[in-house]
Each structure stands twice: as structure tokens, then as C-alpha cells.
Symmetry: C2
Subunit: 335 residues, 2 copies
């Protein structure tokens, strides 16, 4: 029996800042479930900054969204009909799901999760999902933090930053978060045990607090932001510093290339290593990393916050909120 679903499609590609005008809510009737496919009832969808890039018509490590088609992202759902021998009705799955209430999904595109009492299923979209894995591989594999080193994290109260900072603490580093607003800075220090936090919104020039808080300069910079804020950190890099290029949210909404100081002579003299990465490149190690993250969560060494907005219709709003720096932790939508 076929069924209809609401879905959000990309109505138009944004030029510059993304707005609600770029999304359209439509209704469509789903075809029957084919062999090897599942009918999923979507429970939660994740909104993430990298999706902004997919709204441009540019080939990248993930293909762009098509105008007229549904957007998609990490999600959790429940199998409500199946033409696969590997899944049963009632199974909870994670994977890339379209922005739909119901969706037909190839069984190969999702993974069944075993729910545990002490960890909420939404953790598979945050600390145990791509967000946590991004923090894990970025900080450990590229940042290579060593005991006693100084680690600075931008967008530190965000989904990735908050996990990266806590891993830096596990590795016994002096951990400094940059975040927007007093509330977030308080959260970093009180809830997540960061050593220090800098509120870039109330600080006209963050080079001053950086100089004060990093007397031995910065060994690892985990960058989720880019732009002026990162330039300020670049002046404070130590010899042999590592820069983890994880996100550049300050630049995603720009129509043209951002212009700034060419820091390459400083990188040279200080023997800095800067490296961009995409979490999918580590897919072969996801399961091992997820086990480690799960253990840290169970040991209460990593706390995670989820900011859950209720209502399928609020997906665009939740996404737009990412660019206003409003959220602490992972932004999810409960469908």
C-alpha cells in the first residue's frame, strides 16, 4: 500500500546568504517498496553546516543537491515496511535520509543500531555519529595533540567543537574554546571542563585574550570557522603547530572568495602543518572510533548536548539557525 509524505525540496540555489525562500514544502505519494528497499518513518534529522556547500552547484566530495529534489542529511528512522531479508519492521536505522516524513531507502544506505539503555538513539546523530567521528579523527589523526600542549578550538560549543575539546582534555591538553556569547563560554568551562573560553562576540580583537591565555602559544588549532577569527589564531601558532581544517562556516555563505592576510610566510617559519580532511575518508575506521567514543560517553568523559527542535516543518529554520551561531551542541529536528 503506497503512502504520501511531506518533503522539503531545494527550490532555488542561494546566492550568498541562505534563506527560507530557498526551500519548499511539497507533498508526494511514494511508490511501492521495491526488493532490497525499506520504507522508513523518519524520527530525527540532523542539520549541519556542510549542507550549505551542497546547495551550490559545485562538485565536491559530496554531490550538490538538485533543485526540485529533496534535501538530505544524517537521520534516524524506523523500518515500517521492508522488502529486505536483513531488516525487520521496528528496526531503528541511521544513515543519510531525505528531508521527508517517510522515505524509501536502499537497504545498503542505512545501518541498524542496537539501542542501549544508557545512550539515547539521537547520540547516533551527534557524539556517535558523523559529528563525533569528525571531532575524533580531526583532532587525533591530524591535530596529534600531546600531553601538556595548548589546543584552541573555534565554534567550541558547536556539535563538533564540543566533542573535539573534550577529547583534547582526555589527552591532557590545555584546552581553550572560542565561542560566541557568555552563555556558551560558561557552558564550555562549567559543563565541559575546558580550561578557558574566549567570547568573540564581546571581544573586538581576540588576539589579546589569546596572547594572555596562551603564553606558550598554540600547538593545535581545530578550526570550524575560518575568516578573521582564524587569522587571529594563526598569529599565535607555536613552532610545529598543526591546524585541523574542519569547517569554514564563516565563508560558506559568501558569494566570492574571502580576502585576508596571506599567512604562509608565518606557516613556513613556524613549520606549521595545515590539513583539510573529510570524515568519510576514515570510513574504514568508523566502527573502532565509535566504540571508543561510546566508552568515553559511558565513562562520563564526554558529555554531549543536543538541541532538539520539534516539528518536521521547522527543518529550514533549524538549518538557518546554524549560521546565526545560536546553538549549543548538535542541532537535531524531531520529525
Amino acid at each position: 500500500m503506497s503512502r504520501s509524505t511531506k518533503k522539503f525540496i531545494l527550490k532555488s540555489r542561494p546566492s550568498g546568504e541562505v534563506s527560507s525562500e530557498n526551500f519548499e514544502l511539497v507533498e508526494e505519494r511514494l511508490p511501492d517498496v521495491e526488493t532490497g528497499h525499506l520504507l522508513i518513518k523518519t524520527h530525527y534529522l540532523s542539520v549541519d553546516p556542510y549542507m550549505r556547500n551542497r546547495m551550490n552547484n559545485v562538485e565536491s566530495y559530496v554531490s550538490p543537491f538538485e533543485v526540485g529534489s529533496a534535501l538530505s542529511g544524517d537521520g534516524i528512522g524506523e523500518v515500517i515496511a521492508t522488502e529486505s531479508l536483513n531488516f525487520e519492521i521496528g528496526d531503528i536505522v541511521v544513515g543519510t535520509l531525505p528531508w521527508q516524513q517517510f522515505a524509501l531507502i536502499d537497504e545498503k544506505k542505512v545501518e541498524k543500531i542496537q539501542l542501549e539503555e544508557t545512550i539515547s538513539p539521537t547520540a547516533y546523530l551527534s557524539v556517535l555519529g558523523l559529528t563525533g567521528l569528525t571531532a575524533y579523527f580531526g583532532l587525533l589523526d591530524i591535530g596529534e595533540p600531546k600531553t601538556g600542549e595548548t589546543v584552541v578550538i573555534s565554534a567550541a560549543a558547536g556539535a563538533v567543537g564540543s566533542v573535539a575539546g573534550q577529547i583534547a582534555k582526555i589527552k591532557e591538553c590545555k584546552t581553550i574554546g572560542i565561542a560566541g556569547g557568555e552563555e556558551k563560554c560558561h557552558y564550555l568551562i562549567k559543563n565541559l571542563q575546558f580550561n578557558e573560553a574566549i567570547d568573540y562576540k564581546s571581544t573586538p580583537n581576540i588576539r589579546k585574550p589569546l596572547r594572555k591565555l596562551c603564553p606558550e602559544r598554540v600547538d593545535v588549532y581545530f578550526d570550524n570557522v575560518g575568516g578573521d577569527l582564524s587569522d587571529a589564531v594563526f598569529y599565535m601558532l607555536n613552532n610545529h603547530a598543526r591546524i585541523v581544517l574542519c569547517g569554514q562556516i564563516a565563508l560558506y555563505n559568501l558569494n566570492r572568495l574571502s580576502i585576508g592576510p596571506r599567512m604562509y610566510p608565518q606557516f613556513l617559519v613556524r613549520r606549521v602543518r595545515m590539513q583539510g580532511f573529510i570524515v568519510y575518508d576514515y570510513a574504514a575506521q568508523f566502527s573502532e572510533a565509535r566504540n571508543q567514543l561510546k566508552q568515553w560517553v559511558l565513562d562520563k568523559k564526554i558529555k554531549y548536548d543536543e538541541n532538539i527542535i520539534e516539528g518536521f516543518e521547522k527543518l529550514p529554520e533549524a538549518f538557518l539557525g546554524l549560521f546565526k551561531g545560536e546553538n549549543i551542541g548538535k542541532q537535531l529536528v524531531k520529525v
Copy 2:
């Protein structure tokens, strides 16, 4: 018996472009040779772009030159008096020597070299000296070129670039040099067997030839130059490309930070690794690397050119010439 020597001192720190006004030729009487020291007659001195940075009053990986004191750089000399058991009169030594005709040197600061018939002593200032070692470690350790990859080298006809390009050829890479002027480009292709060369002086926008010559994009960029030219290469980087930050000569003479596009989002999406390095960090491996370079020279796999200006008084002129892009290969001064 003490002896007098001519020497060049730093008269004033340059503001912006360096000029002959910043140097002064003086004469001084040398004290007697102390225990553990040598009196050296300078034969050759090397002039290198990195010295421009030492003329600023900025602490870096080498300390700045002092106003009123002699400049210094890589040199070859002959021991003409000794208060050391490890050196004899007539020994030929390499090391950091002051810009003086005669100099008193701590025996620990120089190294004796064994001359061979087939290799000129000046090779120890070029292909077997810091220049060749810089090309060797930068390309092999940071660039990690793999067979069949595309390697682009800026200032490719220069002392470091010309060796780096030939090592890239030994590693069976498609090797493309960027150099200024038809003569240098001809030299790269005809003498050094580069696959291609781009004359940036006759090409208003090098992105065009790069796109044509690098259909599979750029895997390794060995950067001696920086500025606009490097930005153009950055647009052509392949996934997982490596950038070797070796020199930034385009920026050394600037009073203020150079401004340009922030390429970090591109580095992120393409998973680029950019790394600055200083050859002294590899000191423990110099001897092994020098043996390999010597073997390649003997096998005629690496050719080297030295541009020798005669006359101690011409040191400033030779140094200033580096910034005019005049020289092919290593610039030396015969004292």
C-alpha cells in the same frame, strides 16, 4: 700574528625593499686565534633569499642580523691558522661564515670536506649544501611524490627549485616548472628535462597554462615564491595534494602582510596538506641525504648550475640580484 680583513656589516635594517644602502664595507683588525678556533680565508660565500628575513629585527628560526655587525651565510674557506687539534692548515671547510675575507671561527661551527675530482668544492654550497638538502627533504619528506603524479615547482630555475624538479623526475613524476623568462623555461626543459615550463613573465594569468598542462590537477606544489603566483596554483590542487612551503620570496620585501584570497575552504574540501619546513630540522639526516645527492650527481641524474660573481665587494649586488629573479641555479660570490 693578527691580520686585518674587509667585512660587510648591516648598516641599517631595510624598510620594504632591500638596497645597497643597507650594507657598509668596513675594515677591521682580527684578534689572535684562540684555543679551539680557526683562522679561515674565505673562498666562496653563498647569498640566499632567506637572509632577507634575518635583516628584520624579528626572532625566527635563525636570529636576526645585528645592525653594525657582519652579515653571514653559507661559505667555503681554507684554514690558514689553527688552534685546534682537529684541523690542519690547508683544510677546506664549509659552514656559516661571516661576510669577511678572513674570519676567526669556532671549530665546532664548520665541517671539513673531502674534495673529489669529479665534484667542484662549490657543490658543497649548492647541490650538496643547504640548497640541495632543502630540495631533498622538502620534496621527499613533505611532498611525498608518487610515480605518475603531477609536481609543480615555483622559482624552478632557482637554486632549490632546480634540484627539487630533478628529484621529482627521478621519482617519475610529471614535473612542471614556473620560472620568469624564456631563457629559464628553455633551460628547465632542455637542460634539466622538466616536462613543461610556464613563463610567468609573459603570461598574464598562469591559471590558463596550468589548466592546460595539468589535466589531472596538481598533486605536489613545491612553493618557493608565494603571492599571486601560488594562489593560481592553489586553484588547481588535486584531492590530497601536498604543498611544500619552502620559500615566500614574493613576500619577503613587503613591509606589511600580503593580502590575498583565503584558500582554506578549498584546502578543506580537497583534503590538502600544507606544511612549512626549515632544513635545519633535518640536521640528523644531512649526511645520509648528502650521500644520495652526491650519487645522483655522479650518475648525472642531477645537474647543477652555479652563478659565480667574482669579487668580495660584489656581495650586496649578488644578494640584491636574487630579488630581481636574474639568476639560474645557485648564486655564489668568489671572494
